[in-house]
């Protein structure tokens, strides 16, 4: 298909502002009379608040002090349910839970004041592990500590054990991971009688914040306004937590009558905000003599922290992805999200899937070993094909060729030759460096799960101006992943214009419709499609009016817009998501068409392990994926590379050290993400099979790279050392212990 701008690496829309330092992030904004706000947090993990003491040599009368009593509406951060308080009133359920808010114009004095508030707590015993929560050592949430559970069943698992030649079992764990966007979280709020509540901030989902503030303040929709400032990375970390900071800033603003800015420093951001859910997965797999998967019995648990927040949704995605891109007649997946007394875990790129995919892909290497075939051979014998059914009962209707992806990834990485070469070299027992190569094959569903998109019913509007510029109004946010640019490309393509003629209106709930949250790899595919449709509608209006002829130029288009607007006052289009009729989902049985489309991928990692220090280095990384039509190759490759880098961190470096529910290594020095010298060349390859329902054929890609990176690395480490990796991160400390065990 001939395209104008789709498939071209047009430069990032807001690139100029970003490279000149002119882009305005929340901490770059300032309002006259603005105060600074801080949060005073719980020193204990669980307990009853006895008293709050305001001590020290502090002019307390100068401060605005907010506690739960100052909340005009409901004391909660409304999300799926309303269990999480905005400010703890009687009880605290995790360390660093917000209890008191302070505002003052002098931010240095404010810190001194924060240190001088003493929250007295009568401690209660807490739960700090999945095991303790499941064992119900205490009941800390609901009746049974369980936020949500799912049961997925396909075929009859129990009938398969008897037929199996091999039954392979294993338990796998993944740790918490900090999103570590480089811009810490922050918000500015203003509250006045005339306009109600307005907040500006670093955020992914303006309408989540909007809803939370409505309920907190008990105000109608139109009295709350949420504006996204330029956002310095999110990765899920700015999906739900910004509602909390917005609420705090707004309460202080209401009480003080002044604008209030709350900016977290890195330490506060790390200890208080969400992280990727720690997980534990148990697999029991029945395999035939020739390596066919006869049954997969999967038990998947995630640690949700103290409140429900998004845990049910994270669990859902993790559950659906737990059986991977394989055709297996009998699958059972039991899963649950449990409560512990840690700050709530939350959204992080991949959203549960990186956890369950790690377990599966590591497990399948072990299954292959048990069967006595190569790991790729096991995958090949079980890869799903068009027309076959996934674990949740979804019949794959897309063209999918996992074998081809595997072949391409192996060719690019030199997999077979290296596998042999390394095995030979590693057999020298005295060698200080062992090398290994491993891979993972996986899929990732784009968009909200099941009927999620139907409920969201996202909207997009478009307006052409008299000068011919076209404005896109959507609630989707740009946080680095390229929303602005690809929306412009999609609209430009549909309108046959250049991208420069398209403007993206700043997400502001007062002006843009609700396009749903900017999460779940849904922006390009779902919202992008709405943009495309809105553009097509706009063009049709213009065409039908007779102002625009066939084969028009940009000037013709502009002139036609001008003429149309003179005649009709305005030129707008509006579209709302319509769920494809042939996609069905049963929430009760948890089966059906979980996602409109999947991205498919095979990632190969090559590592070397220094046997003296157990340090692992990733030497090469090949990421091959089929993601439909690629709208912007540079941006798309950038998404994959960045995701792989985060995956390498997840696999090797990023270790949250917990002490009674509190992160104790909450500094960038001690929570280490990869630097420029820690990463290999990341080689990205796209296979493109246009997807009929995506804009110009595109599917979602944002989360995909988080799924396969860690297991590919873990499999490579196993290949290099013979160590049976069961948990990530594989720190040098844990690997050294495992190496000692192998060689003992």
């Amino acid at each position: 298909m001939e395209t104008r701008v789709i498939g071209k690496s047009v430069p990032r829309k807001e690139g100029r502002e970003k490279v000149t330092g002119r882009a305005r992030y929340v901490d770059d904004l300032s309002f006259p009379g603005m105060l600074h706000g801080v949060t005073v947090r719980s020193p204990a993990a669980r307990g009853r608040i006895r008293a709050v003491h305001f001590e020290g040599d502090i002019p307390w009368h100068e401060f605005t002090v907010v506690t739960a009593k100052d909340i005009p509406g409901k004391n909660c951060i409304a999300l799926l349910i309303e269990d999480q308080p905005c400010l703890a009133a009687e009880f605290v359920s995790h360390p660093e839970e917000a209890v008191v808010l302070l505002a003052h114009h002098d931010k240095y004095l404010l810190e001194e004041a924060r240190r001088s508030v003493r929250i007295e707590i009568e401690p209660l015993p807490g739960l700090f592990s999945i095991e303790d929560s499941l064992a119900q050592k205490e009941i800390i949430w609901g009746q049974d500590n369980i936020f949500k559970s799912f049961y997925v069943e396909k075929g009859d698992v129990d009938s398969a054990w008897a037929r199996a030649e091999f039954v392979v079992e294993g338990t796998y764990e993944t740790g918490a991971q900090e999103q570590l966007y480089i811009e810490p979280q922050g918000m500015i709020a203003q509250v006045n009688g005339a306009e109600g509540v307005t907040v500006w901030g670093s955020l992914q989902c303006p309408h989540y914040v909007h809803k939370a503030l409505m309920i907190l303040f008990g105000l109608p929709r139109e009295r709350i306004r949420v504006v996204q400032a330029e956002t310095g990375g999110g990765f899920g970390g700015k999906e739900e937590y910004p509602s909390m900071i917005a609420a705090h800033a707004a309460l202080l603003a209401r009480k003080s009558g002044r604008p209030v800015k709350i900016i977290y420093d890195r330490a506060e951001d790390m200890v208080a905000t969400t992280k990727r859910h720690p997980s534990r997965t148990r697999h029991v797999t029945a395999v035939s003599r020739d390596g066919k998967l006869l049954a997969m019995d999967i038990d998947f648990t995630v640690d949700g922290g103290a409140y429900e927040t998004l845990s049910p949704v994270v669990l859902s995605r993790g559950t659906i992805h737990a059986a991977g891109p394989y055709a297996c007649a009998n699958v059972r997946i039991r899963s649950r999200a449990v409560a512990t007394n840690a700050p709530p875990h939350g959204a992080f790129r991949g959203f549960g899937a990186p956890q369950s995919v790690f377990a599966l892909e590591r497990h399948l290497d072990r299954v292959a070993e048990a069967v006595g075939i190569a790991p790729e051979e096991l995958r090949r014998r079980n890869f799903i094909r068009e027309g076959q059914t996934l674990a949740v009962g979804q019949v794959v209707k897309e063209k999918v060729d996992m074998n081809a992806l595997l072949g391409r990834a192996f060719e690019l990485s030199g997999y077979h030759a290296k596998r042999k070469q390394f095995a030979a070299e590693n057999s020298d027992a005295r060698g200080a460096i062992k090398k290994g190569i491993g891979f993972a094959s996986f899929l990732h569903g784009a968009g909200f799960t099941g009927s999620g998109e139907e409920y969201l019913a996202s909207e997009v509007a478009m307006e052409a101006m008299a000068d011919g510029s076209v404005h896109i109004l959507a609630g989707s946010t740009e946080m680095g992943q390229g929303t602005n640019t690809i929306f412009a490309q999609i609209a430009a393509e549909a309108l046959r214009l250049d991208c420069e003629q398209i403007r993206i209106v700043q997400p502001d709930t007062a002006h843009v419709p609700n396009s749903g949250p900017t999460v779940a790899s849904r922006t390009a595919m779902i919202v992008g499609k709405l943009v495309e449709t809105a553009a097509t509608k706009l063009l049709k209006t213009l065409r039908d009016s007779g102002f625009l002829r066939e084969g028009y130029s940009a000037e013709d288009f502009s002139r036609a817009c001008g003429e149309y607007i003179t005649a009709h006052r305005e030129l707008k289009s509006f579209v709302k998501y319509e769920h494809p009729r042939d996609l069905h989902w049963d929430d009760q049985k948890y089966s059906g068409d979980a996602y409109g489309a999947y991205a498919w991928a095979v990632y190969v990692a090559e590592v070397s392990v220094d046997m003296r220090t157990a340090e692992v280095r990733v030497n090469d990384f090949v990421a091959v994926q089929e993601v439909g039509r690629v709208i912007n190759p540079v941006l798309a490759a950038g998404q994959i590379e960045g995701g792989v880098a985060q995956g390498i961190g997840f696999a090797l470096y990023e270790n949250v050290v917990w002490q009674e529910g509190r992160m104790v290594n909450a500094q960038m020095t001690n929570y280490v993400m990869p630097t420029s010298v820690d990463l290999p060349a990341i080689r990205v390859c796209f296979e493109e099979i246009p997807y009929g329902r995506g804009p110009a054929g595109a599917k979602g890609i944002g989360e995909l790279p988080l799924d396969g990176t860690a297991p590919a690395i873990a499999n490579a480490i196993a290949h290099a050392t013979g160590v049976d990796v069961r948990a990530i991160p594989v720190t040098a400390e844990t690997l050294l212990e495992m190496l000692e065990a192998v060689h003992a």
Binding site: G15, P59, I182, A637, M668
Partner: protein
């Protein structure tokens, strides 16, 4: 009420022009730039010298402005991201970052560009290892660095061809 020390007056050359400000002697140069001088292009990512988002050039060398006390800026020649482009005309490195995807969310970008410029001043034709080394104090969570390396290489190529 905690005791309050006096502020001091500091004069320096900022992005080519004489500048002066009043600050507490141990105020972070980062805060002075952002709050007092309204140059918000320099970013704070950590405040502990780890992330490089606050990188600036001081007397020709790269420093983390979150770790420089205001007093030590006395008499210094300082360059921030605001001093990189000449009017509306972008520096080759800035252009390359736009063309090659070197900036995603953009929060690391000002510091990264200063680090890249400083690297190129020391190694006009850096090899891969020198690029990685030169940027290793500037963390980027979005890009995985590959497009940043490409941007630096492309800027060098532009400089060579005079394009």
């Amino acid at each position: 009420m905690p005791e309050r020390a006096r502020k001091i007056r500091v004069s320096c050359v900022l992005n080519g022009s004489a500048s002066s400000f009043e600050a507490h002697p141990m105020a972070r140069l980062l805060d002075v730039l952002r709050e007092d001088l309204k140059l918000t292009g320099t970013k704070e990512g950590c405040g502990e010298g780890e992330c490089g988002a606050c990188s600036i050039e001081m007397d020709g060398v790269l420093v983390n402005s979150c770790l420089v006390p205001a007093l030590q800026a006395q008499g210094a020649k300082i360059r921030t991201i605001e001093g990189v482009a000449i009017g509306e005309s972008l520096h080759a490195v800035q252009q390359a970052f736009i063309a090659h995807g070197g900036a995603q969310c953009g929060i690391c970008t000002p510091g990264m560009i200063l680090a890249a410029l400083n690297l190129l001043a020391r190694h006009p034709e850096p090899d891969d290892a020198q690029i990685r080394e030169g940027l290793s104090g500037n963390l980027c969570r979005c890009t995985g660095y590959m497009k940043i390396f490409e941007s630096v290489v492309a800027a060098v190529r532009r400089a060579e061809t005079g394009a």
